[in-house]
Amino acid sequence: MSRIIELICTYGNNKRQNSYKLSGGALVTISPTIQDRIDAALPPSTDPLGLIDQDGHPRQTPILALPPAEILRELHRQMVIGRRLDAQATALTRQGRLAVYPSSRGQEACQVGAVLALREQDWLFPTYRDTVAVLTRGVPPAEALSLLRGEWHCGYDPHEHRVAPQCTPLATSTLHAVGLARAAQLKHSGEAALVLTGDGATSEGDTHEALNFAGVWQAPVVFLVQNNGYAISVPLAKQTAAPALAYRGVGVGMRSLLIDGNDVAAVFAAVRDALGHAAAGRGPTLIEALTYRVEAHTNADDAGRYRSDAEVQGWLARDPVRRLETYLRDRGLLDDARLAAIDADAEQRAAGLREAMNRPPDQDPAELFAHVYAEPTLALAAQREALLAEIADTEGDRP
């Protein structure tokens, strides 16, 4: 038996022991033990954790605590508003006002629950699918949709809202979040980062590197994987053979939770718990939230080519908004009057969004050169003058 195999055998048989004698008599110390690391990592549960089931009934679940009534009412209100603005954005693509829109519909519990769990000092790292999350964080709709309107690549100031630009290549922002969290750790600033990804992005190498760096640094970062079943058209079974995406955390020594992603109370509680864990200096958490993308990938996609209507109907029965509505009504926390007021507010915001998207964009071709470097280089300044002269010439030619 080789030294290595002998070591592994001894190791496997004595999980609590951290010293091993090699055949030559040398002592090898491994600290902490594998069992210590497994205990710290907290593998995900077999069943997704949840607090309110799909029929609106309360559930008992370990780790997570039901948020107070006022928070549940606010979660509901924000989901209704988010859903209305999402529907408005989809409608704006049909009028040619947006270049493209990847809908959040069906994933409101993940996006609203996670964002409302953030503290003011925390940072959000969203993807293109997470416009409802960006809006919930308080970014004005016209600024949030600048990317999808085709106006500029990011329409808001990330520092103002503590929201990074929406990530388009996917997974790349996971590393930015870990770096930001590591800086917070070095500065003792108390900030944490929440990074959103989908199931597809977990196949990217950057996600693995981000989870691993976060684990090594014990960085104050929370990974929320919105597992909505599809990466555009590719189903989860073609992404991974893992029992659950949350198991990726186990491989890097990270605490991992598997939750019902259509239960906004569970998402809020899990992200709050993870942020508390991070803020206490106890490191990162990976949360896999099971949810479903009700719309096609974008307005340009045809979901009928890769999934059945029956499947969609099955998920509509687990709708995140309706189940919380049932729960709140059953407890006298929501009535028709409040619902009507929320709907009216949402309608007003949608009208505001329509109006903003009908206004001409605030654009100046000279700005193309303004932000490439901190100051334009001489060559860029010359190109800017040439472009402006070309535009002036072209406009001079017009009748």
Partner: protein, 371 residues
């Protein structure tokens, strides 16, 4: 920029270019301040030692500066550029990372978003390729993506180029990949003194800088003057001459200077321009030289096809056409994957190959060069 990290973060303006630190003369910046000075080192120092001193001085000068990468902590880097820094500045400032280059660049981006100034190492040129997406799509573009709201003062140090007997993946001249990406500054020193000052200037720059270190010159030695020879974005004339301009950068500056000395024996008075900044390109200095000499040869290690020299030749032709006595020629590596070390001498530009190329500059055509 001294004080605790918290004090410095409270006063730092992250999006402004610091002309004092970089010497960059951008439009709109009227200041003619010279680049930052440093204590002179009168004893000869290797390029490795000069880079180490620059990192140490930057870490001492600004608490926001961090140094990290693979093996840069306890070991001090495979070339010892970071030797002793972890012991002196502590594991919070100088640290080893997991072995993952995209991870190093991606987390550096996040740290810069949160006010720090990361100086990271890619262990070798070809080992940086896993980080390519993070460098080209994010490090280079986040400032533009956010209309100037995110400033990423990250320096990416990459030992590059051949001539040291490295096996495959250890000798690439990879500059063309980076210079083709708007938003990056790409610089490379040719000498120890320049290595010190260019690195200090790069760390003081609010733009991301790809800092290419020519391994071929890591062990060359010279004293380091207190004042840098030029600003971050300027080329310098290393040797004045009247007949032809040799344009080189990084490891090839020394080869070009050697070739110029040999050419003098054959009656050619050769000027050597050291580009230092590959992007942006210093048109004024280099075109000024070529207008004076009327002839130009560009020297680089990387493959010639679509290489950096092609851009230089095109720009100079556009700017100096009526001054040229001969076509602009290039001496480059062959258009092959980097060869095994026992054959690399056939690939790299040599003094002989440079002299042969100078000889082809139409000296017999009856054209008198400009005095």
């Amino acid at each position: 920029m001294t004080g605790t990290l918290e004090e410095v973060l409270a006063q730092a303006g992250p999006t402004q270019i610091d002309t004092e630190r970089t010497g960059v003369q951008a439009p709109g910046i009227r200041s003619a301040l010279s680049p930052r000075s440093a204590p002179a080192r009168t004893e000869p120092v290797t390029m490795v030692g000069a880079l180490n001193a620059a990192l140490a001085d930057a870490l001492a000068d600004d608490p926001r500066v961090l140094v990290f990468g693979e093996d840069v902590g306890t070991l001090g880097g495979v070339f010892r550029v970071t030797d002793g820094l972890a012991a002196r500045f502590g594991e919070d400032r100088v640290f080893d990372t997991p072995l993952a280059e995209a991870g190093i660049i991606g987390t550096a981006i996040g740290m810069a978003m949160n006010g720090l100034v990361p100086v990271v190492e890619m262990q070798f040129d070809a080992f940086a390729y896993p980080a390519f997406e993070q460098i080209t799509s994010h490090l280079a573009k986040l400032r533009n993506r956010t209309r100037g709201q995110l400033s990423l003062p990250v320096v990416v140090r990459i030992p590059y180029g051949g001539g040291i007997g490295g096996v495959e993946h250890h000798s690439d001249a990879s500059e063309a990949y980076y210079v083709h990406t708007p938003g990056l500054r790409v610089v490379t020193p040719g000498s120890p003194a320049d290595a010190y000052h260019l690195l200090r200037q790069s760390i003081g720059c609010p733009d991301p800088v790809i800092f290419l270190e020519p391994k071929l010159r890591y062990w060359s030695k010279e004293p380091i003057p207190a004042e840098p020879g030029a600003a971050l974005d300027r080329a310098v004339i290393r040797r004045a001459g009247r007949d032809v301009t040799l344009i080189a950068y990084g490891g090839m500056v020394g080869t070009a200077v050697e070739a110029a000395a040999a050419a003098a024996d054959q009656g050619w008075d050769v000027e050597v321009a050291d580009l230092r900044s590959l992007s942006p390109f210093d048109d004024a200095t280099v075109a000024g030289s070529v207008r004076r000499t009327g002839r130009a040869v560009i020297v680089h290690e990387a493959a010639g096809f679509a290489g950096y020299g092609a851009e230089v030749a095109a720009r100079l032709t556009e700017q100096c056409f009526h001054y040229l006595e001969a076509p602009i020629l290039r001496v480059t590596g062959l258009d092959i994957p980097y060869p095994p070390p026992m054959l690399e001498r056939h690939h790299l530009p040599s003094v002989d190959r440079i002299l042969d190329t100078i000889a082809r500059l139409q000296w017999d055509a009856g054209n008198e060069h400009r005095a």
